[in-house]
């Protein structure tokens, strides 16, 4: 088992789980979105880590270079980054409206208020 080759992935997993934890364990709505961001960025790092080829360079064709890193994950992640920011924007917009409507952005306070509605 090539531990050294896998260590990178493990650190990324730790990052992912940190983000995931923040999303589910914290009550503050903005913090949840922050956690979601961290989770997503970590997944992107995971993809890019797998794209790297030892001894390769950025996938821009140039004279004299024969080894390139894999361009496909780059493309996928570019798309995913944009999707991520779109989600963040919408999430934050909802938080602003929720604050206006309820006066709080803590999830448990929201639940209490909802019980009365």
């Amino acid at each position: 088992m090539e531990f050294l080759g896998l260590i990178n992935y493990w650190i990324v997993i730790v990052l992912m789980m940190t983000g995931f934890y923040i999303v589910i364990a914290h009550d503050n709505l903005v913090k949840k979105i922050v956690g979601l961001n961290i989770f997503q960025v970590s997944v992107f790092v995971f993809y890019i880590t797998m794209a790297k080829v030892e001894g390769g360079t950025a996938p821009i064709l140039a004279e004299g270079i024969t080894t390139y890193s894999n361009p496909l994950p780059h493309v996928l992640i570019l798309t995913a980054i944009v999707v991520g920011v779109a989600t963040t924007a919408l999430g934050l917009a909802l938080v602003v409206r929720i604050r206006d409507a309820y006066g709080t952005i803590e999830d448990d306070e929201l639940e209490n208020q909802e019980g009365e509605s």
Binding site: E2, G5, L6, Y9, W10, I11, V12, I13, V14, L15, M16, M17, T18, Y21, I24, A25, D27, V30, K31, V34, G35, N37, V41, V45, I48, T49, M50, K52, V53, E54, G56, A58, P59, I60, L61, T67, Y68, N70, P71, L72, V75, I77, L78, T79, I81, V82, V83, V85, A86, T88, A89, L92, A93, V95, V96, R97, D100, I105, E106, D108
Partner: protein, 320 residues
Amino acid sequence: MGFMAVIGFAVARLRNLFAVVMLTGIFSLTAAVLYVLLDAVDVAFTEAAVGAGISTVLMLGTLALTSSEERVESTGGSRWALVLVVVTGAILVYGTFDMPAFGDPTAAIHHHVAPYYLEKSGQEIGLPNVVTSVLASYRGYDTLGEVFVIFTAAIGVLLIIGRPQFGRRRSHRMLVGELHESMRTNVILRVVSKLLIPVILLFALYVQWHGDFGPGGGFQAGVIFASGFILYALIFDIDTARTMIPARVTRIFLCLGVLLYTGVGIAGFFMGGNFLNYSVLAATPVSGQHLGILLVEFGVGLTVAAAMISIFFTFARQEH
């Protein structure tokens, strides 16, 4: 990467939301640096602009409109969350055991679809930046979807908070007003930004057209272009900034970009190609590809710039 882990933990523990948001920005920037180290230059560029830039600005905007301190919460509920997270993490680690080692050039991932792009895109599309070739042509349909995602977000934000009648508007205008006062009187900021903003806009145009040859392209260009306007709005006057690009104009460009992209796709029909086939658009396939990619990237840049500007202003002024 260890640095990023530290930041991640800090974010989890900190309660001052302003600090949390700043740290998230740093997290993104660190990721961008990591991407450069991993040869993913286009991605690094986009992550820096979009992740560290736009996301942070939006979060700060949200904080300005809500509260900046997270309340102390009970630890009871977090126990099962911790369990869930540990279990998920363990499953993921289990999954890594059969993964190829980091950087291994013989891994399957590098041997199926990817070599085709590296080998053939030079002939078929003729652009040095393989990421652009794949993004705008081979997998151009995904990119079309992505532009529509941005479009959806911009319209969505408009729908969600774009109304003048939201309660806190007055107090918020005061808050932003205070910020403005301090920034308006700061000479250094004003002078430097007046110098920088035209440069930023020019740089955006450069990035837009140069994306075929180096890192860059529509997304990065659109974000940079928008940031020029956002910078102006932050340092000077939001209302003046808004009159330079009124809502009507951003709306039109927002739509124009996606319509351009889709239009290029449909144009292929009339020449006998499928949707988004660029090869048929000009005399030779390669020049057709160049033309197609040029146009769609421009469409992307238009919509992204308009979307970012629109989202920022909608947050800042809660307007239509």
